[in-house]
Symmetry: C2
Subunit: 165 residues, 2 copies
DNA sequence: CCGGATTTGTTATAATGTAACCACACCCGG
DNA sequence: CCGGGTGTGGTTACATTATAACAAATCCGG
């Protein structure tokens, strides 16, 4: 499975950078970056793709860090709330945030063939004043923007296949 | 549960209109608008809110139209593919399309308090040139845009509560 | 009315997610 | 030191959502 951001990059570097940033951010915000939470974040970073809670749980279990679903879900909830990871609604899966610096408005590109996920931040003004302008009175707190399609690599190898086949 | 589009409207009218439009569309596209599919669509229209597959299945079961999950899921898949309904990823639920005329680019406003869902079409014709311009080569086929927050009514009655509690 | 394609019925099970309760560690004020 | 409050983790048990697989019925063009 290719995954990644559909682009080559220095992987070992982005893992260590993200860990350092997470440490710093949790220290600043008085959040406890406990072993379980740290390990879950590491797993997400290392795999660099969307992982189901039970996939993560399997790894935790193999390492003796917890064997029951709540352990994984609690750690994931923490990471999501802390802005360190995102939940991909379309896949019921989780992925490490790919740009910890700055604020949030994540958008995801999901390849339906290789299941790879790329995160690309959008400018909040783009949609806050656009799509939802016609809903006066509604107070938007969070937005999920997820596009499904084919990544460049899969387009080449499967371009004869239909979209929703 | 208020639900609806957070706005008053002529409900009996929108149900019958949508049914007629669905009939016409299926006839045109040579799709079989079978009793189960029609009934599921009716249920979605009548409730006018996001319904889980098992909620729908319960109604079908009460009416002797099928009692096992695949019956509901298949009908829902049909409706979604036909553009008659949408799946709300965030809620694992389904809702009738609220504007059958014209093409698609649905966006949803989900009230986290009353669970109401409003659909509001987005005008973006070419997603690749909008939020996803930074992902060259990716071929977008479908986009889910879901905003979570508080509707106007719930804002008034719960304005002291925090966002993610 | 034949024959392929589609739709439906059914069984069984997989995958995802939560409620509730207890134990532990830590901090902090008394 | 002690005792309560808070946050975290471990565990049991269960709820919810979804699909695979296969057989039977139905539809529809030719």
């Amino acid at each position: 499975m290719p995954a990644l951001g559909f682009q080559p990059h220095d992987h070992s570097r982005c893992v260590s950078d993200a860990l350092a940033e997470a440490e710093a951010r949790c220290a600043r915000d008085r959040l406890q970056f406990t072993p379980v939470r740290r390990r879950v974040f590491e797993i997400l970073l290392q795999e660099h793709r969307a992982l189901g809670a039970y996939e993560i749980l399997k790894t935790l279990s193999d390492e003796g860090l917890g064997s029951q679903p709540p352990v994984a879900y609690r750690a994931l909830d923490f990471l999501v709330k802390a802005g360190l990871a995102h939940r991909i609604e379309r896949l019921n899966a989780y992925i490490a945030c790919s740009h910890l610096t700055g604020s949030h408005a994540p958008a995801f590109l999901i390849c339906r063939n290789c299941k790879g996920v790329a995160e690309t931040d959008v400018q909040i003004d783009d949609w806050a004043n656009g799509p939802f302008a016609s809903a006066p009175g509604f107070h938007v707190e969070r937005v999920a923007l997820e596009a499904e399609g084919l990544c460049a690599a899969c387009l080449e190898t499967k371009e004869t296949d239909g979209p929703t086949a």
